[in-house]
């Protein structure tokens, strides 16, 4: 490809950051110096160079981690090395929230002001930071540190949450949750900390240690600390069994278990596995760990608290489906999960266990909710903008790199070892007829003991709230958000509905990512709805018109209602909102647009929000 570059050149530091990942440039054509070996001739061509585009996101991470922003010179060098057109690479870098394309402070505090944190004082925290550090993102170009508002960081049980990222020779992250203004200020001024997160994982799992637990049984135990300890706690038994009984036996167990995907779409896992296993040619396994749905943190807890189990499950899945390479796409806001997962993968590799299945590679996201959509995730891994693809074709037919791909959520995969060890039929007997197995629920908001809870399918929303110690705050429940920002609000009299796929459907809600977020009666629900509308406006990828413009028009309309300045009457606005909601759910490309109005719709149908703005 004949590429054209601007005259910006990389600094030595930037060059080193890229070379540290890709190795030194072999020829001048690839941005290096003329070497004797190749005598200035092209040393790479064809597929070998064009086939490197999938390294774009890791290279951008390397640059950003080193200098705190993506400079024109560094981008040029990355493009020269990977043979990517600079305009396209710019479009990719500009897609992600965590990348800055203008000179930026090396240390950034990302302060979550999303719904769960908002209910626990995030706005107050932001005001305090404004007083002490100045307005969000306002640090001058060469300032040492700054703070920005962030969408949900997946630390809802520890709200209000802050993630501090630092660039430099050794990029670092620090999770501060729960956090306050002195904490954040101290971290911004002190620089590199020792640990990414000092809070033990088991503090996010109030049930930790209970013998009845299946998916969460190793959280807080020594079994998650090393591969040997994992093996001693019964780990690897499922992988051994799978290798012994064969791929087809594994597929039959997964089919018999009636397991359905835990990422939100509830697609039968066995059907996916069988489809990929029977496809020929190269194929891939992708573990979707881009958990970004506001209020959702179960996958983070699994990866941080039982990383070997996640890797073992991926090994089993790739063995059963015959995948030649596996990727786990972890959201960029999950530094500790990334560290622990990488350590577990390295241990598996060192023990020779990956030779039994296939190599496993971590890919880090960089702040984009949409990349949790499976086809957007493929594009992100491939080095393109994280825009969803049109379906069909489905991932099992043409997924990552256009090949058949098995894509499963972390929690879905975590169910596989128990399925194999207990047998698919025994697993299917747990829970209800149409919702089998144990399930993780993300409880946050106004609760006495927020955290990840494990329960068999069939429990009601009320049971879950009671499990978490009941409603805190004022103690008087106003509403419960279930399923996430793309889910639904329930009224206090709907809480006896079983939190199963069929039970939720019956009351017009969805299981989604199993979020249960109660709000007490001190919360301004209108403001929560506005935050949800803001979220979708910010996270729409911008590809299709219904979602790109619809999420904006929805947000503007709610803003008008909230401030009491409707165009025409409130009723007129409600009709317009109905139209906006319908076109988004009918005509958008992907699930983000389809569900961008569902929480708002459900709340307006149940609660007299905005009615006081009627003049």
């Amino acid at each position: 490809m004949d590429l054209h570059f601007t005259s910006d050149t990389p600094s030595e530091t930037e060059r080193q950051a890229v070379d540290a990942l890709l190795g030194p440039a072999e020829s001048r054509w690839a941005g290096g110096t003329r070497s004797d070996k190749s005598q200035g001739q092209t040393s790479e061509s064809g597929h070998r160079t064009s086939g490197q585009r999938h390294l774009l996101l890791p290279v951008l991470h390397a640059i950003h981690g080193r200098i705190g922003w993506i400079s024109p010179g560094a981008l040029n060098y990355a493009c020269e090395r990977l043979k990517v057109p600079p305009a396209e690479a710019y479009g990719v870098a500009d897609f992600y929230d965590m990348f800055s394309l203008a000179r930026h402070s090396p240390v950034v505090a990302r302060v979550c002001d999303d719904i769960a944190c908002q209910a626990k004082g995030a706005n107050e925290l932001c005001s305090a930071l404004e007083r002490s550090l100045g307005p969000a993102g306002s640090s001058s170009d060469d300032g040492p540190a700054t703070w920005v508002r962030s969408p949900c960081l997946g630390l809802c049980e520890r709200s209000p949450a802050v993630l501090v990222t630092g660039s430099g020779e050794r990029p670092w992250n620090r999770v501060l949750a729960p956090s306050d203004e002195p904490d954040v200020s101290a971290c911004l001024s002190s620089g590199r900390p020792g640990l990414t997160d000092t809070c033990p994982v088991e503090s996010s799992v109030p049930q930790a240690g209970e013998p009845s637990l299946e998916l969460l049984r190793r959280i807080g135990s020594s079994g998650a600390e090393s591969l040997d300890a994992y093996r001693n706690s019964g780990g690897l038994d499922a992988l051994e069994l799978a290798l012994q009984e064969g791929a087809d036996w594994v597929l039959r167990q997964v089919e018999a278990s009636k397991l359905v995907g835990r990422g939100g779409a509830a697609f039968p896992t066995g059907i996916k596995w069988r489809a990929v296993a029977s496809a020929s040619g190269p194929k891939y396994l992708v573990c979707n760990a881009d958990e970004s749905e506001p209020g959702t943190f179960k996958d983070r807890v699994l990866m941080e608290g039982d990383p070997y189990a996640v890797v073992e499950s991926m090994a089993i899945a790739s063995f059963a489906s015959g995948c030649e390479r596996a990727y786990v796409y972890v959201r960029g806001e999950y530094p500790r999960a990334t560290e622990r997962l990488q350590a577990a993968i390295d241990d598996f590799d060192a023990a020779g266990l990956l030779e039994l299945c296939c190599p496993i590679e971590i890919r880090r996201g960089a702040g984009a909710y949409i990349c949790g959509e499976e086809t957007a995730l493929f594009n992100s891994i491939e080095g393109f903008r994280g825009e969803p693809r049109n379906k069909p074709p489905y991932p099992t037919q043409a997924g990552l790199f256009g090949k058949p791909t098995l894509v499963n959520n972390v929690e879905t995969l975590a169910n596989v070892p128990p399925i194999l060890l207990r047998g698919g039929d025994a697993f299917a007997a747990v829970g209800t007829e149409r919702s089998s197995g144990p399930k993780l629920f993300c409880l946050s908001g106004h609760l006495a003991r927020p955290g990840v809870y494990e329960a068999e399918f069939g429990v009601s929303v009320r049971d879950l709230i009671d499990l978490a110690g009941g409603v805190s705050g004022t103690g008087r429940l106003q509403a419960v958000l279930v399923g996430g920002a793309a889910g639904s609000f329930l009224a206090p009299d709907e809480l006896d509905a079983p939190f199963t796929f069929e039970g939720m459907r019956a009351i017009g809600a969805t299981v989604g990512s199993a979020v249960v977020m109660p709000f007490d009666d001190s919360v301004d629900l209108g403001r929560i709805l506005l935050r949800i509308a803001d979220f979708f406006r910010d996270e729409s990828c911008g590809q299709c018109v219904p979602c790109r413009v619809g999420t904006v028009r929805q947000q503007e309309l709610l803003e008008r209602l909230h401030s009491g300045h409707p165009i025409g009457s409130v009723d007129q606005e409600r009709l317009l909102l109905k139209d906006i909601s319908q076109v988004m759910s009918d005509a958008s490309i992907c699930g983000l647009g389809h569900t961008a109005a569902s929480a708002v719709d459900s709340a307006l149908a149940r609660f007299p929000i905005f009615s006081r703005s009627t003049q």
């Binding site: 601007t6 024109p72 305009a87 903008r385 911008g542 299709c544 139209d579 319908q582 076109v583 009918d586």
Partner: protein
């Protein structure tokens, strides 16, 4: 090959194949596909899209981001139809026709989505030079006024046109983000990759790297992006200047097809003239040599026409010809 060279000396004689010469495998002829469009059965060749089926049935389906010469990106969603058994509407332009599919092209749901898409676009961009889009708006009763001031282009997307070269301008306040220019600049035609989509959501935009002016970018000024732009966001500088001075008048314009005089490829060139002056050029989309594409010379190299000998334009024209 490598076995041979390591074991024995390589043989230079070409082995004569024994037996009959193998024939090319017979081409698989797939049966045509029968689908139902608004209750009437239509048969289309295998591989056709629902849009092809609609067109064959004579159903006029609006499209904005679709063009026969480009890979469908199905982003504008104005062509959506109701497919029986599908939870959501589907884009006709990219959805392949499958046997037994039944679609409705004018149901209440379809009309609502099309109307809303058009309202959304007109409420956020300047559609004054997009006659096709205006026609659709009228057909579907789209009212972009009901979004208030927030929805006006002024409040969201307004910006002065980017005029950074003498050949064409980019007025992104008119851009509906249909991706056509990106496709034409990239793998679907020119393979230059000077522009791409940057940003995200409502702030997504077409841009060069770091928004550098075109002369600093990879742009080769083929103008194929202008050829596919449905809204006039990309426009010949000559047209832009005439519009600015109020002289642009399509009723006074003629088009003349000719062959580009520059090289031996033989591209069909359509000259658009007003007052006996060439005001812009294009190439027919259905022309098999060009598929609507041209190069910088065919697209822009006509300033010397009508220029007096000795003028700068004449001299520029001569030097271009070299």
């Amino acid at each position: 090959m490598s076995d041979q060279s390591s074991a024995d000396a390589p043989s230079l004689t070409i082995p004569i194949p024994r037996g009959p010469v193998p024939k090319a495998p017979a081409r698989k002829v797939r049966p045509p596909v029968e689908v139902t469009v608004d209750g009437t059965s239509v048969t289309v060749p295998d591989g056709s899209t629902l849009l092809d089926a609609c067109r064959q049935r004579g159903v006029d389906t609006p499209t904005l981001c679709y063009l026969e010469t480009l890979e469908p990106v199905n982003v504008c969603r104005v062509c959506v139809v109701e497919l029986e058994g599908s939870r959501t509407l589907v884009p006709a332009c990219s959805r392949k026709a499958e046997p037994g599919m039944s679609i409705r092209t004018d149901s209440e749901r379809v009309r609502l989505s099309r109307r809303m898409v058009l309202e959304f676009l007109a409420s956020s961009t300047d559609v004054s030079t997009a006659p096709e889009l205006q026609d659709y708006m009228e057909r579907y009763g789209a009212d972009s006024e009901r979004y208030g001031d927030d929805g006006r282009p002024a409040a969201s997307q307004a910006q002065p046109p980017k005029i950074d070269n003498d050949l064409y301008i980019r007025d992104y306040s008119k851009c509906i983000l249909c991706y056509k220019c990106v496709e034409a600049c990239g793998v679907d035609a020119q393979n230059t990759f000077a522009i791409a989509v940057a940003g995200r959501g409502f702030d997504a935009k077409i841009a060069t790297e770091f928004d550098v002016p075109l002369p600093d970018s990879a742009c080769v000024y083929c103008g194929n992006c202008i050829g596919v732009c449905p809204t006039g966001a990309l426009m010949f500088k000559s047209e832009h200047d005439l519009r600015e001075s109020g002289e642009w008048d399509e009723s006074k314009q003629q088009t003349t097809d000719t062959i580009c005089p520059y090289c031996g490829v033989g591209c069909t060139l359509t000259l658009h003239t007003q007052d006996n002056q060439i005001v812009k050029t294009s190439s027919p989309m259905d022309q098999e040599v060009t598929s609507g594409n041209l190069c910088i010379k065919g697209r822009f190299g006509w300033q010397f026409v009508g220029a007096s000998k000795g003028s700068k334009a004449f001299a520029d024209g001569e030097s271009t010809e070299d």
